[in-house]
Subunit: 251 residues, 2 copies
DNA sequence: AATTATCATGCATTTTCACGCAATCCTGTG
DNA sequence: CACAGGATTGCGTGAAAATGCATGATAATT
C-alpha cells in the first residue's frame, strides 16, 4: 500500500466518521501504529487534520461541513435545486436521492399543486414535514449513516414496486468515460436501481464534480435523461458530456 | 472514545440541555466520574463552561427563563427518556415510536455499546445520524405527516418481518378502562402491530396523559410490559393501573 | 449537627507518544 | 549488474498522557 493512498484513506475515514483512531487504522491495514502515527503527525503539520491523543479529529469539528462544504457551493446548489423542481408536473411521482444537493430540491419543490415524493433518505423525509401539497413515501431499510439513506435488500425490494416519473440523482463524481460514480458500493447499487425503475433520471452536478471519478460507478452518463449543471460551467467542459446524448440543463 | 470527542460531547450536552451532570455522563460513557470531573475542570479552565457542584453549566446564564418555562414537561420527558434508555441491553433490537416523548429516548440512547434501533419515523432516524454505536433500520411507507411516521400496508409488512426486543410506545392518552389510545386510526393500527411483534412494550407517559381517552385504542393497559411515568405522579393516580398487571417505572 | 454526595489530590497502571536506530525496499546511476 | 542514496517501515526506549482508585476535604441536604 502506498503512503499517499494510506493518507487519503485516513482522510476519508475522518470525513466519514468524524474521527480517526490510530490503533484501529494500524490494525485494519496491518501496519504498526508508528507508521500511522507518523502519517497523522505529518498530516497535522500540513493542516489536514487535528492531532489528538489516540488519533485525530477534523480541524474544526463538523461546522466546516456546514459552513465550508455548504456555503461555498450553496448558491449553485440552490439554482440546481430550483431548476430540478421546475421539471415537476402535477400528479407526478418524484424520487429524491439523499445528499446535500438534492436536499436543495426539497426546499424548492412546487407548493401550488400536488405530487408524490419518494425518498430513501429520512433526512429528506423529515425536511418535507411542513410541505403543504407533497405526498411523501419513505423507502425503508438499513440506514447507511454516512449519507443517511436506506440501503439493502429491503430498500431494493420497496423501490422495485414503484415507477417514479422523475428521479433526481446525486453523485460525488461525473466523468465522460467512467460515468457517474459515488464512494459506496451499496449506495451505488441502490441509485442504479432507482434510475432503472424511473422513467427519467436527472443528475444534479455542482461544478467541482465534473471530470472526477469515485470508486463505484452508478451509471454511464448516456443512461440518464439529463445533467443539471451550474451556468458557470464552460461549454468546453461540457462538450465531452454533450456528445454522449445527455441533455444538459444550465441553472 | 477519544478525549477530545468526549469533551465536545459534553459541550453538546451542555448546549442541548443547558446543564451537564457529571455522574450521568460518566455512566452513559462507562467511564469513572473522575475522568469526567477532570474534563469539566479542564474545560472550565479553558473558559468553555462554568463548573458547578455536581456538573457544569453554560457560561452565559441565558436560560434561567427558558429552563423554568419549558423544563417542567421537558425535564419530565427527559427523565422518561433516560429511564427508557436504561432498559436497553447490548445487542438488542429496539423499536422507537414516533413523537416528541420517544424523541427524548433517542437523545439518551447508550453510547457505549452496540444495539439496533428500528423506527418508522424519519425524524427519529434523522436524529440518529451522529449516534456512534446504533445500527438504524428505517421502516418505510406512506408518510403520515401529522405525526411523521410511515404508515400503510408497506409499513405493516416491513414490521412483520422484525421481532424487536423492546418497543417504546408513545400515545396521547392512557386510561385504566379504555386503555392506551391515540388520535389517528391508521397510526393506532401500526402501533398495535409493532407491540404485537415486540417481545416487550413500554409506554412512556407524561403526567397529563393519565386518565384521558383519545379516539382510537392501541392496546389495553394490561397488554404492555410496563408504564414509564414521572415520579411526581402520585400513588393514588397509579393505583388503577397497577391493578392491571402493568409494571410501573417511575422516572 | 449529622449525613450524604461531590470534589481535589496524589499515586499506580495502562495506553499512547516521539525519537533514534536498524532493516528493508525502491530508484537511479555508473 | 552492482551499488549508493533515499524513503519507508518496525522495534526499543523512555517520556507523556489518560484513567481509575484511595484518601481526606468540601459542599449540599436533612
Amino acid at each position: 500500500m502506498l503512503t499517499s493512498q494510506r493518507k487519503s484513506l485516513i482522510l476519508d475515514t475522518l470525513r466519514r466518521d468524524g474521527q480517526v483512531i490510530a490503533k484501529q487504522v494500524a490494525e485494519s491495514l496491518s501496519l504498526s501504529e508508528d507508521t500511522i502515527r507518523r502519517d497523522l503527525r505529518e498530516m497535522a503539520a500540513e493542516g489536514l487534520l487535528k492531532r489528538v491523543h489516540g488519533g485525530a479529529m477534523p480541524l474544526s469539528p463538523e461546522l466546516p461541513d456546514f459552513s465550508t462544504r455548504k456555503d461555498v457551493s450553496l448558491a449553485a446548489k440552490r439554482r440546481l435545486g430550483a431548476k430540478a423542481a421546475g421539471l415537476i408536473r402535477p400528479g407526478q411521482m418524484i424520487f429524491l436521492d439523499g445528499g446535500t444537493t438534492t436536499a436543495e430540491v426539497t426546499r424548492q419543490l412546487p407548493r401550488n399543486f400536488g405530487f408524490t415524493v419518494v425518498t430513501h433518505s429520512p433526512t429528506i423525509a423529515a425536511d418535507l414535514e411542513h410541505h403543504p401539497t407533497a405526498e411523501v413515501i419513505v423507502i425503508g431499510g438499513r440506514l447507511y449513516k454516512h449519507s443517511m439513506v436506506a440501503t439493502g435488500a429491503a430498500a431494493m425490494a420497496a423501490i422495485s414496486q414503484l415507477r417514479p416519473d422523475l428521479f433526481f440523482l446525486g453523485v460525488t463524481a461525473a466523468h465522460p468515460v467512467h460515468g457517474l460514480s459515488t464512494g459506496d458500493f451499496e449506495e451505488a447499487a441502490i441509485k442504479r436501481h432507482i434510475a432503472h425503475s424511473s422513467a427519467e433520471t436527472y443528475v444534479l452536478l455542482t461544478g467541482e464534480k465534473l471530470d472526477r471519478v469515485s470508486a463505484c460507478q452508478v451509471l454511464p452518463v448516456a443512461d440518464v435523461s439529463g445533467l443539471i449543471v451550474p451556468e458557470e460551467v464552460t461549454q468546453a467542459q461540457l462538450a465531452p458530456y454533450r456528445s454522449l446524448n445527455a441533455a444538459i440543463l444550465a441553472a
